[in-house]
Point group: C2
Chain length 221, copies 2
């Protein structure tokens, strides 16, 4: 049986879960309290991070390395565009969310509000929360601008860029940090991706101490 | 003419320069003071980062997206292994250096000592420099352990993982922050990669205010 070591509110784990579900790969989910850095865990991934995927007798880590692997060995359905230049644009946006958006928004909101509490690292720093709440507006506007010209974030085809962005937004939506009224394009985009069967497991996540808000799993939010 | 917007002591720009040189792609280097965020520059890359590569009438950004593109359109010489599982291991290590090593070492040493001065952001924080100097030891040991079992970092073939690591190490070597006596495997590995023709342009870099130390361009360091 394939196995994914993960935590529920990690955008990197969610990105891999979405890709696995789109490609119809069944996987056993195992929660890994990665910050406790058990010896077993560090042997699976010396970088000390989740996600870690056990598949085809391989132990893979780093979400983007995992997603590239899955696309290579299970090309159907394709989550990458065909042309190299379109793939470059898709990867640019994957890193946009996993790097820039993560640094400016996800780490400022989710990590301050949730991860710190779960890891016993004290209270959120309000300066960071304020910064994150400010920056997410700029990112929503940028996505809205992209979606003015394209059906999906990286072009006319749904790709890994959409799942990467949706992985971050779904975590922030869980803690009510997304203003869906800011941009109609972005709301429509999220409604489309949220209604996919691959999203179901993510909409069922429950994090102890952080009750799911009612709109979170509502497809008509 | 292809054009790369870069700064000399950026590991991400150096990674792309090495790949371009290995693949024998001629490119005009243009220094981009990215922290000044000129309007022209932000139009080329709204993320406000270098490297940016103009090639084949495309404007590409994000070093890993660029390297994947170059491997797809110019597969010869191959800098990626053939098997998906070996490519996953290579990408794991690329992200090891570009993410973990960067956060724990490069940003703590290079950014504190060099980038801050160039950008007029004051003096290095000694706490960060100390942390970086401590962490690089662990990374050198880990590389030494990998190189005990493999000819190159990701396997028996030289790959993008080696160029990514060498890009970070060459920047740190420029500011004398690498102890080459710590691990013989790592020193041998760097000597091999440093003597490649693709490395020449990097060994010729001069950064105003930071004179090149004599050992930096010496192949017998």
């Amino acid at each position: 049986m394939n196995r994914l070591y993960h935590i529920p509110l990690s955008p990197y784990c969610r990105k891999v879960r979405l890709v696995l579900a789109e490609k119809k790969v069944e996987v056993e989910l195992v929660e890994e309290r990665y910050w406790e850095q058990s010896a077993d865990f560090l042997q699976r991934n010396p970088a000390g991070k989740v996600p870690i995927l056990k598949i085809d007798s391989q132990t893979l880590s780093e979400s983007q390395a995992i997603c590239e692997y899955l696309e290579e060995v299970l090309p159907d359905p394709a989550l990458f565009p065909k042309k190299p230049e379109d793939r470059a644009e898709m990867r640019r946006l994957v890193f946009w969310f996993d790097d820039k958006f993560h640094q400016e928004v996800t780490s400022k909101l989710l990590y301050e509000r949730v991860n710190k509490k779960i890891m016993g690292q004290g209270y959120p720093e309000s300066r960071n929360v304020k910064l994150g709440a400010q920056k997410i507006k700029y990112h929503i506007d940028y996505m809205g601008w992209l979606l003015d010209q394209r059906r999906w974030l990286a072009g006319d085809q749904m790709t890994l860029a959409d799942f990467t962005a949706a992985a971050h937004f779904s975590c922030l939506d869980y803690i009510r940090d997304v203003d869906w009224n800011r941009n109609a394009n972005v709301k429509d985009w999220y409604a489309k991706i949220k209604s996919r069967p691959a999203f179901r497991s993510i909409l069922a996540d429950q994090v102890p101490g952080f009750p799911q808000p009612p709109h979170y799993s509502d497809l008509d939010f």
